[in-house]
């Protein structure tokens, strides 16, 4: 069995995030995710303090590590200076590197984030950009947003933006030399490896579930399977 605990100890977020939790539950009391989901940051700390590798492996396979909204409210409040949010980040990273994330419904959703935000970053230099918002995935955006997207260039010009053009300004096109440097940063720091890992394990899972997983979102039943969590 992989020594998950040692791998976690190598992540500075894990080292920074856990200093002898006293199980007071203050983090859980303030946590918006604990209010909405069956989630309890206190018990995550508790499990990690046992250093029990089997329990940690189980955690990496379950929905529990995917509920946190990374609001960091727990950091402000923990009397021991612990940061459950950082522990969650370390656990999520390990779950994706080892492929265990595909064992849980919430974990499998990482594929959809990679296909949207992840590809946006590397292809355009933006996490999100007006041109990249697919309104089919965002009905909550409402009719004004539909209007805004339909008239994007004319409207953003009025607002002083530089829509999809090179140079300074809001919503500008980010030049290829900048994107090349971003790509090299992703290659050397493990960003590309993590993308590949999410992609590879997701494709394997899709095969196992007998769901088509093509690279274009529109044609990928697996993308919508995880995005809508249809079981």
């Amino acid at each position: 069995m992989i020594d998950y605990y040692s791998l976690l100890r190598r992540d500075i977020r894990f080292v920074e995030g856990l200093n002898a939790c006293m199980n007071c539950g203050v983090c859980t009391a303030i946590c918006p995710a604990a209010e909405f989901y069956n989630y309890d940051p206190r018990s995550i700390c508790n499990i990690l303090m046992t250093k029990d590798n089997e329990k940690i492996e189980h955690l990496l396979k379950t929905d529990s590590i995917w509920y946190c909204g990374q609001c960091l409210s727990c950091k402000t409040r923990c009397p021991r200076g612990n940061v459950p949010a950082l522990l969650i980040s370390a656990l999520r990273h390990l779950s994706q590197v080892t492929g265990l994330f595909t064992n849980s419904e919430k974990g499998r959703q990482q594929y959809a984030i990679f296909k949207t935000i992840g590809e946006n970053i590397i292809n355009t230099g933006y996490c999100i950009h007006l041109a990249l918002i697919n309104l089919k995935l965002h009905p909550e955006q409402g009719p004004v947003m539909v209007w805004y997207k339909e008239n994007a260039e004319d409207v953003t010009d009025l607002l002083g933006a530089n829509y999809n053009k090179l140079g300074e300004g809001a919503l500008r096109k980010i030049s290829q030399d900048n994107l090349d440097e971003l790509k090299k940063i992703f290659n050397i720091t493990g960003g590309t490896d993590l993308y590949n890992s999410i992609n590879k394990y997701s494709k394997t899972k899709a095969k196992e579930l007998n769901i088509n997983c093509e690279d274009t979102i529109e044609n990928s039943a697996y993308f919508f399977h995880v995005f809508l969590s249809k079981e």
């Binding site: 992540d11 500075i12 977020r13 920074e16 918006p32 909405f36 995917w66 909204g69 990374q70 609001c71 960091l72 409210s73 402000t76 980040s89 919430k106 959703q109 990482q110 984030i113 990679f114 935000i117 992840g118 970053i121 230099g125 933006y126 996490c127 999100i128 950009h129 918002i133 909550e140 955006q141 409402g142 004004v144 947003m145 539909v146 209007w147 805004y148 260039e153 004319d154 409207v155 010009d157 009025l158 607002l159 002083g160 140079g167 809001a170 919503l171 500008r172 980010i174 900048n178 994107l179 440097e181 971003l182 090299k184 940063i185 720091t189 493990g190 960003g191 993590l194 995005f227 809508l228």
Partner: protein, 351 residues
């Protein structure tokens, strides 16, 4: 109580020569706000701000969603610092609360783990040939407006007073979790007594509403909003805030974070469409402004050039309360001057 404590959470804010880090979310949903911010700094305050064409994302939304590793994010941020280092400025100003929080986190980690700073320097050099200096000052763009609030007030044509009643407008402010919950010492007023927007509101004539869920998260939650199956988390958190603020009858909401601004606007629309509920008395919703939009309208800027027509909750009732004139026929006209079609009307909210 409040007066005694928040003063402990003052922070140093650079007074001039800013390096502007644009926000993916603010550019997308509120491009007029970023444009107005630069205009306010340069033209109203006569100060220097650098808008670099080589900027890119800090990768924050990817990082907090778990798909971008820490080392990658550190090096992406290091590249932003490298762009800053090529200029005369060392005063980094972020237009995004998430980015502001993440940059403070990265700087803090580099302090606790200096070997991570060294490895980041190595990665950036290997990948791009670049080196970088650390900023002398990191601020969120609202900090800059807060710092110059008195100077700006002198230039303002309007104030936060109801023109008809002469009463101060009642304002809900939302500073966003990553502004001060990660490092209270880096936010004006800390996480307890948020002052960055409250100070602006009070200075400009308004009254701040202190409602029970004032400090609660808007519910973005990164992967919680980004995935449709999880979006209930996001809307439930905003709903909790709306229900808590409703009895105080806010005239409008002002938000620090571009994401929170967008969510508190769109979720009011969504809740109205789903449940027929609005949180004002007239079934119009509570307008949500960015601090740049607020500064801009009080300075007399054209609301349509600030981008108020991009809000799903219409802002005209607020403009009317303050007494700000606007030409309604120009609301849906772009730069070309061509008359554009109008957006469809929502079912349950008067627009």
């Amino acid at each position: 109580m409040e007066k005694g404590y928040w003063k402990d959470y003052q922070k140093a804010i650079a007074t001039d020569n800013y390096f502007y880090e644009r926000s993916c979310i603010r550019q997308t949903f509120f491009p007029g706000s970023e444009n107005a911010f630069i205009k306010i700094i340069r033209e109203e305050l006569g100060l220097k701000i650098i808008d670099d064409k080589n900027l890119h994302t800090c990768s924050g939304i990817g990082y907090y969603s778990g798909i971008v590793p820490l080392e990658t994010t550190m090096t992406v941020i290091a590249r932003l610092f490298s762009l800053m280092s090529e200029t005369s400025s060392r005063n980094f100003v972020s237009s995004c609360v998430t980015s502001f929080g993440l940059i403070n986190e990265v700087l803090d980690m580099w302090e606790h783990f200096p070997e991570k700073l060294e490895s980041t320097r190595y990665y950036l050099k290997e990948a791009t040939g670049r080196s970088f200096e650390l900023p002398h000052n990191v601020a969120h763009s609202s900090d800059i407006i807060y710092l110059h609030r008195k100077a700006l007030k002198k230039k303002m044509i309007y104030s936060l007073v109801n023109k008809k009643t002469g009463e101060p407008l009642r304002v809900v402010e939302h500073i966003g979790c990553h502004y001060a919950k990660i490092f209270p010492q880096h936010g004006v007023g800390g996480a307890e007594f948020p002052q960055v927007l409250a100070g602006i509101i009070k200075e400009w004539g308004g009254q701040v509403i202190d409602y029970p869920e004032r400090r609660h998260c808007c519910g973005f939650g990164f992967r919680q909003y980004l995935i449709m199956a999880n979006r209930g988390y996001s809307i439930a958190n905003s709903k909790k805030k709306f229900e808590s603020m409703k009895p105080y009858k806010p005239d409008f909401i002002i938000s620090n974070c571009p994401g929170c601004s967008m969510f508190m606007d769109r979720w009011q629309y969504t809740i109205a469409e789903m449940e027929g509920v609005t949180y004002d008395d007239e079934q119009k919703g509570i307008p949500v402004l960015t601090y740049e939009e607020l500064t801009g309208i009080l300075l007399g800027y054209n609301p349509w050039e600030l981008g108020l027509q991009l809000h799903q909750i219409q802002c005209e009732p607020l403009l009317d309360k303050i007494g700000i004139p606007y030409i309604i026929d120009k609301k849906y006209i772009g730069k070309s001057g061509k008359k554009l079609n109008h957006p469809l009307k929502p079912k349950n909210i008067i627009a």
